[in-house]
Subunit: 554 residues, 2 copies
């Protein structure tokens, strides 16, 4: 997308501050969020990007009468510094111990007894609660306002009306999935279960959509009670055939906006409502609390179910990997030729070319995330992506990092290769060797079925530690089945919580991607997707195993 | 202590149930807890042990009109099975996914709308809240009762009146510690800080006591406001000299029981009260909530401060290690001779002998935990301890595991050695090698300053995984300075949370103790205490480093 100028950003902040007086707000919080707490946002909900000019995928902007600050994590510090220049927005380095939390910063930046505004559809209940707790010490409250966004954002894109499509691959049916979920609800004593997360809804309904770039999901809420299942969705994007087939499987459609008014009355009054406060917006949770529902705040059962792929899904994913691998081979072969021929090459040109090779497959839908093609110093920013107008040339020598993936009709891929073009310094070779040793260490270790996913992180990290370095990201993340390229709840990360939902069992699809980044010089990352296979009484995540035996013994 | 018979246990449960009617209780929860949530309890508070006959250090007993169940973790399943036999108390294997939580079990075991009783001084606020949340779904409430314990427990030991002593080692003074804590309170916006945990209070006041076996602490609460510091303690155990010296440093003494009535009024009414809900009893937190204090629920600052030892403390701890090492050398030398001579040896005799050698040092106070001397199958129970009347003989051959430690006036020790007596099977040698490789892997790895302590766990575990095995405990725990042998917040465990308070910095004192347990055959564990030293830009936790350079470069 086009970048906003600092002048535009200043004008937008001024427009936002104008709205403060009428609402008696002392500040406004603009998180990266939609009502589904999606990781990647539909453009309709990208208010934080619009207001700040910062285009990274994570960050929260806070604006007071006189100050503005943006919290984002280490992946984006360099990019944010560049994009915030001249806007007057201060960068808050999230994750550094000296950085105050949002609530703490607000507490000393706005008057006691004042009111801070936010669109509470775009903040998770857990995050809002943490901010509220800190603000309460100075009697500052957090108040919902859903109208500021349209007032300030004149050019706001309309909500997507892209059609929803059926995604049947011959695996578990909607009815089977509903029945498993209701079984879990009975065991938890829940009368209702609210699912806000879009990939869970797509998985439950065996439908896919096109409301968010790179992720085949559609905006909806799903409420399941013991007897009913309601899909809150804009009727303009779901065909009559699908509505009928959903109804046959016991899922009724309702208008999207009715989630705020009609959902709660469907749950028995003295019943317990199951929702995950980390993955449900604050507005809905406060509505449920006001209606005096007792809330079961626990991870929704669909997340574990969809994270562990069945045998059929794993076989299809293997197919997707083959399509993807073939495209990569063609691409690298083309690249070798192009380098030999000595034509003008750039990061952007490579990303276009890679898209071309992938798009030749009839199974290809779109990229699963924005392709990263990064040369030398650009590769040191783990989330750098080239743009048409901002792309480094490929000269005779250098380190080339390509991290890319795609949505195929049979699965989602994600792969990173780092290659040396021409001669590279011996320090780069040493760094590459450490990362490769980390990757191989994880690929060749044995571990017990049921370890917490976070326990595997150190295995790939140790060889990098041994040469005195580290990397700021996790070693791996879950990947969906023709769904999100980042799929929870398991992740191979030092920060992954030791919860039952993060245990590693056969069927999980995760990446193995250690890295090493030297600011100003180069970045290295080596990534494959892997899935646990049995190895005697233990499990292993080897890079390769016979495709017809996915999930079987090594 | 003497074990209770199953008949005694049944009579006690009957006495407890008799109290239900007058109080309209449908059940009673007896956790392992005192008002300070101590890991090891003063005998005065050991109600759970009294009621159930189960002597393990962790577990919660729940008794309804017709049923009783005891939750305890894998360390104690074998012991609990043995000790609960014939009592009618069902063992609930805590940590297994099929085991219901206490609240869930209660929900289906007592009538809707009923009341469950507990002494809410002995449950942490966090744990009580979790149980309450689940019970609330069936409108069951949790109610405090402090009188049941005395009614049911006729032989209840009196509270300890052992005298408190000064512990000055020439390091930071009380005034310095108070000033650091008040600095943190200002930064957090706290008007008051309540400390319930006994080792933090001993550390803050530079005092030690003798109220709990193996841990030189004394029962007290400490409330710190911006201007005052109040030590709630039984005046009979604290000398006038100490009271005077405390007062000079700005710490006033108040009667222990006044914590429930006089503490809160000392905190400014519109102020925020800092306490750690995981480490503060539910009764106090509900009193604070009723008084409408806003609560800062965050780990108390003293925990991180005392976990990271200063240079002087580390030097003294090295001295304690030397006293302890010398005693162990003498013990193992004696053992070699005794084995050669072929006299009758038993686990109990060895533990007595080890005590003898340690007690020869004038710096020795007491063991820092009950000595584990375990032969063969007994060693497969990680927390087995011999008793005078229940102790295996040392025959010609076998695996001998000794895990022991002591309180010296200059530090706390904890060390485990596993030795082969005579010929042992080659499988035992293979197991020992895997554990030793794990220990050495951690001792020789490099890692960045500031990693989460849990990240180090996998390093020692991998060699054990490689032979298809695992161990159920963490790889290491923090250790106090003449304080608790298990000291938080850092621990080298898969379950250690990824919180700032768990980061590893120089000064931390932790154990490195991987293990491997084969039920019915043998157990192996190799443990040293280690502290991070600098190694270039990284840290390392080697087994040995020059004592005069503790905390310095490797």
């Amino acid at each position: 997308m086009a970048c906003s100028t600092s002048k535009q950003v200043c004008a937008r902040l001024a427009r936002l501050r104008k709205e403060f007086a009428a609402r008696q707000f002392s500040a406004w919080i603009a998180p990266t969020g939609d009502p589904h707490l999606s990781e990647y946002l539909p453009e309709h909900w990208a208010l934080r990007k619009y207001l700040s000019g910062f285009t990274g995928s994570a960050g929260t902007l806070v604006v007071t009468e006189t100050k503005a600050a943006l919290w984002t994590d280490s992946r984006y510090w360099e990019q944010a510094t560049r994009q915030l220049a001249g806007t007057g927005i201060e960068l808050m380095r999230d994750g550094e111990s000296a950085t105050p939390k949002i609530g703490e910063w607000l507490s000393v930046s706005v008057p006691k007894n004042s009111v801070v505004g936010a669109d509470l559809r775009t903040l998770s209940s857990r995050v809002a609660y943490e901010i509220e707790q800190i603000l309460a010490r100075r009697n500052i409250s957090l108040s919902h306002d859903g109208s500021v966004i349209d007032k300030v954002w004149k050019e706001r894109p309309a909500a997507s009306l892209n059609p929803v499509r059926v995604f049947e691959y011959g695996g578990a049916t909607r009815r089977q999935k509903l029945s498993r979920v209701r079984g879990r609800m009975r065991r938890e004593g829940a009368s209702g279960l609210l699912i806000s997360t879009l990939d869970d809804i797509a998985w439950m309904t065996n439908l896919r959509g096109d409301d968010i770039a790179c992720t085949p999901v559609f905006l909806a809420f799903l409420l399941i009670t013991r007897k009913q299942a309601l899909l809150f969705i804009d009727s303009r994007k779901i065909g009559k055939e699908i509505v009928r087939s959903l109804a046959q499987d016991g899922i009724e459609c309702r208008p999207y906006e009715q989630i705020w008014t009609e959902a709660l009355p469907l749950v028995p009054e003295n019943g317990a409502l199951w929702l995950d406060e980390r993955r449900t917006c604050s507005l809905f949770v406060s509505l449920a609390q006001s209606a005096e529902y007792s809330i079961i705040d626990s991870i929704q059962p669909t997340m574990e179910m969809k994270a562990h792929k069945d045998r059929r899904e794993l076989r299809l994913i293997e197919q997707a990997m083959e399509y993807d691998g073939a495209a990569l081979c063609e691409f690298y072969s083309w690249l070798e030729g192009a380098l030999r021929r000595g034509g003008a090459l750039s990061e952007w040109r490579l990303s276009e070319k890679l898209h071309e090779f992938r798009a030749r497959s009839s199974h290809f839908f779109e990229e699963s995330f924005t392709t990263i093609v990064a040369v030398d110093a650009n590769a040191a920013e783990p989330h750098y992506t080239p743009e048409k107008t901002r792309s480094a040339p490929l000269k005779g020598a250098g380190i080339l990092l390509i991290d890319s993936g795609a949505q195929y009709d049979c699965g989602t891929t994600d792969i990173t290769r780092t290659t040396a073009i021409g001669d590279v310094p011996k320090e780069a070779r040493r760094d590459y060797t450490a990362v490769l040793r980390g990757h191989i260490a994880l690929a060749s270790t044995l571990f017990p079925d049921g370890v917490f996913s976070g326990q595997l992180d150190t295995i790939a990290r140790m060889p990098v530690w041994q040469i005195g370095e580290d990397y700021g990201h996790g070693t791996g993340h879950g990947v969906g089945f023709h769904l999100s390229v980042h799929e929870g709840p398991a992740s191979i990360s030092p920060r992954a919580p030791a919860e039952n939902s993060s245990r590693v069992h056969p069927g999980l699809l995760v990446s193995n991607e250690p890295g090493l980044y030297r600011a100003g010089l180069w970045g290295i990352r080596i990534e494959n997707l892997v899935t646990p296979v049995k190895a005697g009484s233990m499990l292993a995540v080897p890079d390769r195993h016979p495709p017809d035996r996915a999930g079987d013994a090594l």
